[in-house]
């Protein structure tokens, strides 16, 4: 590239900016002074002006479309966007809210009316309770298996609630038949 080419480009760039009214007063006066003394540059200015005018004339042209139809299509697609927004709102906000509300309602109802909601209580296993140490002083009974019972602290008629001195309650599933002295045991409703 020669030294003249950048200068030429620079001058033409100044012309381009001059056309756009982009030069400050000093640069503009300087260029106008140069244009008076440089016919080639003046011709370049004229050529750029005409080029620009031709390009700007393109603004008058454009694709020939049915603009009513175009606007209607934009309207239709915007309506689809609205519908999608509504659906999204339902899926992302209302549905989770409704689910949470139902769960909260169910939890509240369960806490308030547990028996009514869970149905009749599962019958507890019958247990045998030995209230006294077996006669003869020998513990021959053993734990057969552990069962979950609901404690009923009201002793059945004829039974004392007092814990036997030095003795232990023994609880085993009914029918375990592992007591050494069955006569001293009673089969009763769950009670502890």
């Amino acid at each position: 590239m020669t030294h003249e080419q950048p200068n030429h480009d620079d001058r033409e760039f100044l012309i381009s900016r001059y056309i756009d009214g982009d030069l400050d007063n000093t640069a503009r006066r300087e260029l106008e002074s140069t244009l008076r003394d440089d016919p080639e540059l003046a011709r370049a200015l004229e050529s750029y002006r005409r080029t620009d005018a031709l390009i700007r004339s393109l603004e008058e042209f454009g694709p020939k479309l049915d603009w009513e139809q175009f606007a209607a299509e934009v309207r239709r697609r915007c309506a689809l966007v609205d519908a999608r927004k509504r659906r999204t709102l339902i899926h992302r906000v209302y549905a989770p809210l409704a689910t949470a509300a139902v769960i909260a309602l169910m939890c509240t109802a369960y806490l308030m009316f547990p028996r009514e909601l869970t149905g009749p209580a599962t019958p507890l296993p019958k247990v045998l309770v030995q209230l006294n140490r077996p006669a003869g002083g020998t513990n021959t009974w053993q734990t057969h298996r552990v069962v979950m019972v609901r404690a009923n602290r009201t002793p059945p008629p004829g039974f004392s609630d007092a814990r036997p001195s030095g003795g232990r309650y023994a609880i085993a599933a009914a029918g375990a038949n592992s007591f050494g002295h069955p006569g001293e045991t009673e089969e009763t409703s769950p009670f502890f």
Partner: protein
């Protein structure tokens, strides 16, 4: 219209801002008003960037729909027009790039590539030319389109938005995501190339 007096620009921007606010507030028809106001310009910009009238119409519609979807995110409603033009420009450039990419994998398409823009221009349906000299106007229009089609992307965008659409350089810089100086340089380079292309129409 970006060109013309500042007063006119302000009036239009205020009108845009009002319509945007109404549209965001859910008023039916407010966005339709904006779409009607800018549909020709949006299609025009897209057309000059992609060179295909059908694609340009699709791109402009996509741009309006995107604008509608994100309207509430527009911080300054007065800037609706440059914002919309930015969407149109980006979609047009994306379309053009994807088209070039698909053309690159097809030898047949590649062979047609050089003439593609010009043929698309010829195929485009145009509004009637000025009544004074219709044939010359069509030739000129075709020549300008052909010249635009041969410009590098940045020069084409800069010239289209600044010289044809009359968008201020500062706005063009925002749309192109570059400096104002670079916009000026691209406009100059584009003018220089177009000056050669249009030499036959100078007399």
């Amino acid at each position: 219209m970006y060109g013309g007096s500042e007063h006119r620009v302000d009036d239009q921007s205020l009108g845009d801002a009002e319509a945007v606010t109404r549209a965001v507030n859910g008023e039916a028809g407010a966005f339709d008003e904006l779409a009607r106001r800018y549909q020709r310009r949006a299609v025009g910009v897209a057309y000059r960037l992609v060179g295909d009238s059908h694609a340009a119409a699709d791109i402009a519609q996509d741009a309006f729909v995107r604008a509608y979807r994100r309207l509430s995110s527009l911080k300054d409603p007065q800037r609706f027009a440059p914002w919309l033009m930015r969407i149109v420009t980006n979609l047009s450039l994306n379309y053009r790039r994807s088209r070039q990419a698909s053309a690159a994998v097809s030898l047949e398409a590649a062979a047609e590539g050089a003439e593609g823009f010009r043929r698309a221009s010829d195929a485009a349906r145009w509004t009637s030319a000025p009544p004074s000299d219709g044939a010359d106007a069509e030739d000129l229009s075709a020549a300008i389109e052909q010249g635009l089609g041969q410009l590098p992307e940045k020069q084409r965008v800069a010239l289209t938005l600044f010289s044809i659409e009359g968008i201020p350089q500062k706005e063009v810089a925002r749309i192109m995501d570059c400096s104002v100086e670079l916009v000026k340089w691209n406009v100059f380079q584009a003018r220089k190339a177009m000056r050669k292309t249009l030499a036959g129409f100078m007399d």
